[in-house]
Subunit: 171 residues, 2 copies
Amino acid sequence: MTRESKKTADASGPLGFAHHDHGACVSDALEAAEVRCAADGLRFTPVRRKVLEILLQEHRALGAYAILDKLREDGFGSQPPVAYRALDFLVLNGFAHRIERLNAFIACVHPSETHTPAFMICRLCDAVAETQSSPARGALGDAARASGFRIERTVVEAEGVCPACVDKAEA
Amino acid sequence: MTRESKKTADASGPLGFAHHDHGACVSDALEAAEVRCAADGLRFTPVRRKVLEILLQEHRALGAYAILDKLREDGFGSQPPVAYRALDFLVLNGFAHRIERLNAFIACVHPSETHTPAFMICRLCDAVAETQSSPARGALGDAARASGFRIERTVVEAEGVCPACVDKAEA
DNA sequence: AGCCTCTATGTGATTGTATAACATTACACA
DNA sequence: TGTGTAATGTTATACAATCACATAGAGGCT
């Protein structure tokens, strides 16, 4: 049992905190990934495909060991490196993101465009929504330029309460 | 030996990537912490003081186990909770920050003012500089308002190359 | 002083996260 | 068909974080 097992997954859960056709959402994303890998000469192997599928099942971040549990169920290797290597591939190529705050991973909602993602993390239900940010504009960018720091990547993660849990709390 | 031991600490290292009188920097900060704890009725105990001193020694983020090693050298308890409890206290009261990207901790450079810190992390020398950000203004804030997400705290961490390492790389 | 309570510390054990190191297999392609 | 490279499998281990429980001190109170 890993940490994630404590919360029950809601297959019709929030995407950007909004409901949608989740089955199509998953299969569309898998197919899109397949197409892009073919186009870019990337190898979309069974483990990588399975890990992406696992992540797509829920719009929440999953820890590596939760993923590992599911890989085992499907007969894949179940040692940590198996999951971490697939995750590295997915993150590197923009199919998934790492949520630093949670030491966990989530499928990207628009893998095609290159982007600087930002995340909103609900501390009550663990739902995670992806959005855009441009932190390099604004105070952070100014400070970097002033000091000579060369920004290569930024992590922007907001912790708070998602709309569904706000409603629940006020009910 | 823990991970941090691999890199040699530079006692005259960068603060916001700029040189300064580090001895005074440490003792001033400790004294300021002492004063503020007295004023706010907080107990600035020996362990907490020592952990803050350890963090102040270098403008880098230290992992909990690196801190633990140093605590042991000074005769304090050396089990993980000793460090984590002191770190919880320091973070809660604004004397230190947690760097999510590194699962590590760093002393705050201006503990007096309440602030939304942002960090610049050098991936080559591990130096970390603290600055300000206002992520809730801008795209992230717009997205939060649009979806009804209530932001309570934001993590902003930029990864890149610090001025010193940029110079080294170009030399 | 003595007592009480609450906070902080010490310690052992356990769980979760991540990587190093190395053997093996699958694939691309000359 | 051999050969180099990328991907996978497996063991072991390092690092991060928390639980549970025992003990010690600080401060308030009579």
